[in-house]
Every structure is written in C-alpha cells, then in structure tokens.
Amino acid sequence: MTRKFKWRHLYLWLVFIVLYAPIIFLVVYSFSAGTTMNNFHGFTWSHYQDLFADSRLIAIFLDTLLIALLSSVLATTIGTLGALGINNTTRPVARNTILSLNNILMVSPDVIIGASFLIFFTALKIPLGFGSVLLSHIAFSIPIVVLMVLPKIQEMGTSLLDAASDLGANNWQLLSQVIVPYIMPGIFSGFFMALTYSLDDFAVTFFVTGNGFTTLSVEIYSRARQGINLEINALSGLMFLLALILVIGYYFINQYSSRHRAAARGRRS
C-alpha cells in the first residue's frame, strides 16, 4: 500500500518538475554571466542592470502596464454593469442568448479575434496603436468579468434589495451602498482576471498594434525570433515575480471572500 502511494507521488512530482523546470531554467540563467543558456558562467546582476538601463524596454513595460490597468478598470466597469443587466433579464431565451454572445470571445481562438478586430478597426478608420490595443483588451476582458461577477449577484438574492427599497433607498443608493459592496469580491476577481488577460495577451495585440506601439509580449516575440538574449531572461525573472504577486493576491481575495461568506452565514444562524 505504502509503495503504491509513493509511485503516485512520483508521477505527480514528475509532472510538477516538467511544468516548472523551463521557468526555473529561465530565471536561473538570468543570473548567469555568459551570453547563452547553455552553461552557467557564474553569478551576476548585469542582465538586470542592462534591463533597467534599456529605456526602450522600460517605456514598453510602462505602456503594457498602462494598457493593462486602463483596460481592466474599464472592462470591470462595463462587465459589472452588464452582469447586473443580465441578472435583471428575466426571460430565459434573452438571457441565454446574451450569455452565449458573452462567451463567444472566450471560446474563439486568439487569431480570429485579432484578425476580425483588425478588419473592424480598419473599416472604422481607427488608427492602429495605443487606442486600438486598448479597445481590444477591454473587449476581450469583458466576458471574464461578467462570468466572475454574475454568480455573486445571483447569490445576493432579492430580499436584500427589497428591504433596501422598502427603507426608501433610491436606485443610486441601492447600487452604491447595497449591491456593489456585496458583490465586491466578484468585481475584484474579475478585475484580476482582466489584468492578467491583458498582461498575457500576445496574439490579439500582435494583430492590432500597427507599427508605432508595442507591448511586452510582442517585444519578447520579436526579440526571441532573433535568438537568445539574457536580457529577456532577466525580464522573465521580473515577470515571474509579478505573476507570483498576482496569484497570491488573487488567492487571498478568494480566501478572504470565502471566510467573509462563512462569517456572514455564522452571524445569520
């Protein structure tokens, strides 16, 4: 029995190691004094120094961050309002149609989203660059926000809203003081997902970015096509750190909201 147990763990550990080895490999070589990813040549911070001295890359990083923050704030706002609207839609047919339309951008391959947005922007004569990338990122982040917020709204139930209305709350008070505080964990999860979607996107941005504007993913792609450059390793070290912070942040929000829910349930009973 114990022997069997060990075999199982061995398989899981193997999958686990294979999944993490390339990432650790990248980060380890970001500290190597050499210029290739073949032999470790002794510890150095020089690639990180190069990275911070590369003003072009820093500008691209800031642009990427700006796009991510702006697009997720706007997508979260539109998506949350959309989820509230969907929740108010009582006819099942209308509701299912809207939900199917909502999910189209989630199941479509990135290439299709990118190509069709490119045609769309060209048809409307929207110049390719910051604006088109921002609009695309808002567009593909909205559905995930809706999917994260909607369950929270459904969990809320109507009695709370009715009580607030009976006590004389107007629409705005209802929204700002009852609904939004209640669904805040859902809004936060949606915001986080939108943020990571935007930071991670390559294919859609690649199609709609034009010549003047670049995000980190597109820049990594064009540099990687030229071969190994340990500055990218240093960049991946920093992005790994960022991803770690985002995951931990997301995890704690989830933990907090489930604890919160448990506490609320405890008080009620």
Binding site: R8, Y11, L12, V18, L19, Y20, P22, I23, F25, L26, T36, M37, N38, I78, G79, G82, G85, N88, L101, N102, N103, M106, V107, S108, P109, D110, V111, I112, A115, S116, I119, F120, I138, A139, I142, I144, L147, N171, M193, T196, L199, D200, F202, A203, F206, F207, L216, I220, Y221, A224, I228, I232, L235, S236, M239, F240, A243, L246, V247, Y250
Partner: protein, 277 residues
C-alpha cells in the same frame, strides 16, 4: 411604478455592455465573413473559397493542422488524465491544483523562449542526450519540439476540467465495482472513465481549438515546418496582406471550432487562465 423603475435601471446598466456585444462580438465576425468574399484587389468574388477548396496546398495545410492539433490533444490528455486522477487522491488537492495551474500565469512567449534555450544545439536537452549516450540531436525547429512545447503549454487547461470531473465522481461507484469483482482495468474503462467523460470532453475542447491556431509556436519552435491554420491566417493578414484569403481561412477555422464544440457538447467556456473555475 415598481416595474417601470426596474426597466429604466435595466436599460441604463445595459447600454455600454450591449454596445460592446454589437461592436466587438457581432460586428467583427460579420466583417470577417464579409471580407472573405473579396480578393486582394478589393473585388467581390467567391474565388477565395474556390482557391481554398481546390488547392492541394491549402487542403494539405488544413489536414496537417488538424492532425497536429490531434497529436497535441492526445499527448496532453495522456499526461493530464493520470495527473488529474492522482491529484484527487492527494491530501491537499487544492494546493496541488494551484501549483499545476500556476505556470499558466507566466507569459506564453517566455515559456516558448525558454524552450529555444533548452532545445538548442548545445542546450541542456542535448547535453542530457549526450550524457546518457544517445548523442546530440537536432531538437529545435522539429515537429517533435512543436508538439512537446504545445502540449507543455496546454497541460494545465486539460488537467483542470478533468480534475473537476474526477472530484465529483462518487467513490462508492468505484467501491461497488470492485466489490462486484471487476478488475482494475474494468473499473476504469466501465465506471471511472465514462463518468469523467464530460471533463475529458471539456478538456479536449479547451486544448484542440487553440492548437489549431498557435502561430507563435510554429514560428519560434516549429521553425515554420508545421503550418497551422493560425499561421496561415497570420501570414495572409500581416505579411502578404491578402486579407480576403486570410478571412476565408478564418471562416474555415470558425467552422472547425463549431464542429469541435458540437462534438464535445455545448459551448462550455474555455478558461484561458487556470484559476477561472
């Protein structure tokens, strides 16, 4: 009064969201289909479809693309199913799941870039092959490396839905099957696998569709030897500027997507990030 108030609230919420659906969901798809009827000179024609369905290059490319997507999905499934199953039997499955899913939060391009280093001529993979006596091989820019890296990237997206199905499996069915004298293989093939099939289908859907369109991997890892539908679309839109033909391939890709969703049942959403449950 009450109903009227609810109605105004409803429409006010809905304006930006409806605008989004019309402008960014419906309009682009219609424009893509519309564009597919125009040739490179901007004339209306059915020629793109005619070229596509009569040219052996395009048809071979499509068959190849589907074949590689199938191989990637199969490899991913063979690795992910046992992973998901064993995951469910550990003491802290949620923690393990989080660890399996974590790599999806790392930028895909960086993971592809890592493999350029790992699979290079004197890279760590070849050093290992030399060490065990096989000797260095050309690894980067081969079909094998394309399938390997694509499977590597997709594993978490396959593990998650299968894990969800396995964790919902009632263990008493498995116990009943064993008590009634079924061999381990019979228990698996007659009880466990059929009951977790919805998870497997969702996983196949989550892996197969993106595998048809991974153009960055065919460029960076596959060395342009494998041309997928996604690569062809990217090439037509951004290199040869033949948007009509690119849109035609796009329409084919959409049809392929619909067929796969129909085969795997329903339009379950595809979590592009692991933590979306």
């Amino acid at each position: 009064m009450q109903r009227k108030q609810k109605l105004t609230r409803n429409t006010a919420y809905f304006v930006p969201y409806t605008l989004w659906i019309v402008l960014f969901v419906i309009a682009p798809v219609i424009l893509l289909i519309y564009q597919s009827f125009f040739n490179i000179d901007g004339q209306f024609t059915l020629g793109n479809y005619q070229t596509y369905f009569t040219s052996s290059t395009y048809l071979m490319m499509t068959v190849n693309s589907v074949w590689y997507a199938f191989l990637i999905t199969l490899a991913t499934l063979l690795i992910s199913y046992p992973t998901a199953y064993l995951l469910n039997e550990t003491k802290h499955p949620q923690l393990w799941l989080l660890l399996i899913i974590m790599p999806t939060w790392i930028n895909l391009l960086l993971k592809a870039y890592a493999f350029i280093g790992i699979f290079s001529q004197v890279g760590i993979a070849n050093q290992f092959l030399s060490f065990i006596g096989i000797g260095p091989k050309q690894l980067l820019f081969t079909n094998f490396s394309f399938i390997f890296v694509a499977a590597y990237i997709q594993i978490p997206f396959m593990v998650l839905p299968i894990y969800n199905a396995v964790s919902e499996l009632n263990p008493s069915y498995v116990n009943a099957s064993r008590d009634l004298g079924a061999t381990p293989w019979q228990t698996f093939s007659r009880v466990i696998f059929p009951l977790t099939l919805p998870g497997v289908k969702a996983g196949i859907q989550a892996v197969f569709i993106p595998s048809l369109s991974l153009f960055m991997l065919t460029r960076l890892i596959g060395g342009n030897k494998v041309i997928t539908l996604g690569t062809a679309i990217e090439e037509h839109f951004l290199t040869t500027m033949n948007w009509g033909m690119g849109s035609t391939i796009g329409v084919v890709l959409i049809i392929a997507m619909v067929i796969i969703m129909w085969l795997t049942g329903g339009s379950k959403r595809r979590p592009r990030k692991g933590l979306t449950k």
